[in-house]
């Protein structure tokens, strides 16, 4: 009879930084996809326009920016058609901030179920990121539809090989949101007041990123800090590829990729270390 130490699992009192158990996410993939589905289905229940909000939301934001920044304040769009310029900024920014807020409320909104049943907690923020990627995909289709309208009238240069690089940029944007969101999720679970601060920080952050103005207009002493914001090289490179400009700086792009990977690793490590501790607190 086997009563040896062939245990399949063990719960001990140690908290680990680097025991990520990413394999368990694969094992729970059905749950992952179901949560993505739930996100997409449940969010638009009981709305008149339903999933059209996925498109409507960036369109409306773009129109508002266009009205304010192109018509009234007259901020330069670097010779790029204003609608496309704002839309690209809005889509990138929204994807980032959606991934961030999708991850940062993990513990607060799921405390009831987390205290009742175990599944890899990382599934929740990852599923939220995947759901937002679906929305992003739809929005990118919209973006390219409008893009080709402008292309027909000669306003933009049209597709090139550089486009193959666009998914990587968007992936980095999402991972940045996810990594930062994971760190914040642990902190907000412990310190609720962070939540209010963050709403504020996010708003300022958007103004500090080249969403509705080109990076070129930031000069002088702020320039370095401006470019160290990982979103700046991401959005700028995205636009450079789409609108046929010189990529502004590869140095900053590499720094930003490095930053994002560090943040992501820290985020996952912090999250995995605290995912069970937080059940006792929240």
């Amino acid at each position: 009879m086997k009563e040896t130490d062939e245990w399949e699992w063990e719960v001990d009192s140690e908290y680990h930084w680097f025991r990520w158990e990413l394999g368990s996410i694969v094992r729970y993939r059905d749950l992952l996809f179901r949560l993505v589905r739930r996100d997409l289905l449940a969010n638009y229940k009981q709305t008149v326009l339903g999933p059209f909000w996925i498109l409507l939301q960036p369109i409306l934001t773009t129109l508002i920016y266009w009205l304010i920044f192109a018509r009234i304040v007259k901020v330069s769009t670097d010779g790029v058609p204003a609608l496309l310029f704002y839309l690209s900024g809005v889509i990138c920014w929204n994807f980032f901030s959606d991934c961030l807020s999708g991850a940062m409320y993990t513990f607060l909104t799921n405390s009831a179920i987390f205290s009742k049943v175990y599944f890899p907690r990382l599934i929740v923020p990852v599923s939220s990121m995947l759901a937002h990627s679906m929305r992003l995909l739809v929005q990118m289709i919209l973006f390219f539809c409008i893009y080709f309208l402008f292309y027909a009238s000669g306003g933009v240069p049209g597709p090139g090989w550089g486009w193959l690089f666009l998914p990587v940029l968007l992936l980095m944007t999402g991972l940045f949101g996810l990594g930062a969101g994971l760190i914040i999720s642990v902190l907000t679970a412990k310190y609720r007041d962070l939540d209010y601060t963050l709403q504020f920080v996010l708003r300022i952050w958007m103004f500090a990123s080249p969403v509705f103005y080109p990076a070129r207009i930031v000069t002088g002493g702020e320039k370095l800090w401006f470019w160290l914001n990982p979103l700046t090289p991401l959005i700028e490179t995205f636009r450079a590829i789409c609108f046929g400009r010189e990529v502004v700086s590869y140095d900053y792009l590499f720094i930003c990729v490095f930053d994002i990977l560090v943040i992501l690793v820290c985020g996952i490590a912090l999250f995995k270390r605290h995912e069970l501790k937080l059940t006792d607190i929240v």
Binding site: M1, S13, I113, I281
Partner: protein
């Protein structure tokens, strides 16, 4: 013997009260500094509890194990550690096979989604794969009886439908270890019966290990083969559930007014006596539902009797108070009874017991001296105080509090000075 499937060693769980949940950065920060600066100073120790203290046990595959203890004894904490939801402060649990918890009804449901969507969502949360759910889908729908509303958002369901659907999903789980924590607290009696039946089926027919916590001691005694008694985080005893429940009742003073056994094979007793039902029926004064000193209690007893050769039977009823003092020991006359179902009873009159907690044991004796079966601590109840026409509210002393009249009469008047 079946292999050990769960092995807990020296499990302890420590909760800091107040501080950790403060959610305020400043307090945590100053706490952290205190720890750094004076790590050894015992006097600064803040409020804390050991929810579990050095608990070790083993569970074998296919066993149904119950955990008994009052609120806060550590039962739920223990189950949470086993189901990976929280970590112990010390010690470890090792095990084999998948674990799933029968969730409190409705956890993991999304109101805006349809019944069909929720079956999948909930199933996945509980660790089932898509294929497993698909293979059980029809059964789940049938068990819950909501097939007509499968595509309606669950927030439009009645509470009953909701509960049925949630239980149906959980009941069709296929893990090796099933954890059931106080799920029977909700739902009507009929539904609880259905749940219990299903759980029994899961454990016996499918050979799964079940860890069970419930305040429904009747259910616990019926379902479990073995029980653990927890007290203030410590495992104080383990063994036969009936015995432990008796031990628990003697200590804890809980109402336990009825026991009934449908299956003669597993009912408590032996080859001569098998209990079918024992029940205390209070005759509440003025329609209330609290047993107080004015309440008469009718004890009813039914048992299967297989007389030993040439013998007669006496049934005795022992009433104890919480301290273990016997208040009375009354018995029936000698009966010569045939093999079969026997019923009996007695009446504990109103205005007889003092307020307090009591428990009853029933003894079956043959030929006046040889004890056939002692059904220990099978019922327990609490008697509340009730006073009229008195301005005194201290504890009324005495084991009994009969209503014999005490009279006073004026015999002789003294002349005025």
């Amino acid at each position: 013997m079946d292999p050990i499937i769960i092995k807990a060693e020296g499990l302890s769980k420590y909760y800091r009260l107040g501080m950790q949940g403060s959610g305020r950065f400043r307090e945590d920060w100053s706490y952290w500094w205190q720890q750094r600066l004076r790590p050894s100073k015992e006097g600064r120790e803040e409020a804390h509890i050991w929810a579990l203290k050095d608990v070790s046990f083993e569970v074998r595959a296919g066993e149904v194990v119950g955990f008994i203890g009052r609120n806060g004894a550590g039962k739920s904490t223990l189950l949470k550690i086993i189901s990976h939801i929280t970590k112990p402060t010390k010690g470890s649990v090792k095990g084999r096979g998948r674990i799933a918890s029968l969730l409190e009804v409705g956890t993991g449901f999304h109101g805006d989604l349809t019944g069909r969507e929720n079956i999948f969502l909930n199933g996945h949360i509980l660790g089932m794969t898509r294929r497993e759910i698909l293979s059980q889908f029809d059964e789940i729908v049938e068990f819950s009886g909501i097939s007509a509303f499968l595509d309606t958002p669950v927030k439009r369901y009645s509470t009953g439908m909701y509960v049925r659907l949630a239980f149906a999903v959980a009941a069709h789980l296929t893990p090796e270890i099933l954890i059931v924590d106080e799920v029977l607290a909700v739902g009507d009696a009929e539904f609880q019966q259905k749940c219990l039946k299903k759980m029994k089926e899961v454990s016996t027919a499918k050979g799964r290990t079940v860890l069970f916590v419930s305040h429904n001691l009747q259910a616990l005694r019926n379902l479990c083969q073995r029980a653990f008694l927890l007290e203030k985080g410590e495992l104080v005893a383990s063994g036969d559930p009936g015995m432990l429940i008796a031990q628990y009742l003697q200590k804890e003073s809980v109402q336990y007014l009825q026991q009934e056994y449908a299956d003669i094979q597993t009912a408590p007793g032996n080859q001569s006596v098998r209990i079918k039902r024992v029940e205390l029926i209070p005759d509440y004064p003025d329609g209330g539902n609290i047993i107080d000193i004015r309440t008469a209690l009718k004890l009813e007893l039914e048992f299967w009797y297989e007389p030993p050769t040439s013998s007669d039977l006496i049934v005795g009823i022992h009433l104890f108070n919480l301290a273990g003092d016997c208040i009375f020991d009354i018995s029936s006359p000698r009966f010569s009874l045939e093999r079969g179902l026997v019923s009996g009873g007695c009446l504990i009159p109103a205005n007889f017991l003092n307020d307090g907690s009591y428990y009853i044991s029933i003894v079956f004796v043959s030929n006046t001296t040889s004890r056939l079966f002692y059904f220990e601590s099978c019922l327990s109840f609490q008697v509340a105080d009730y006073r009229e026409n008195t301005a005194w509210y201290g504890k009324w002393i005495g084991h009994v509090r009969p209503d014999f009249p005490v009279t006073l009469r004026s015999e002789k008047l003294l002349p005025d000075e």
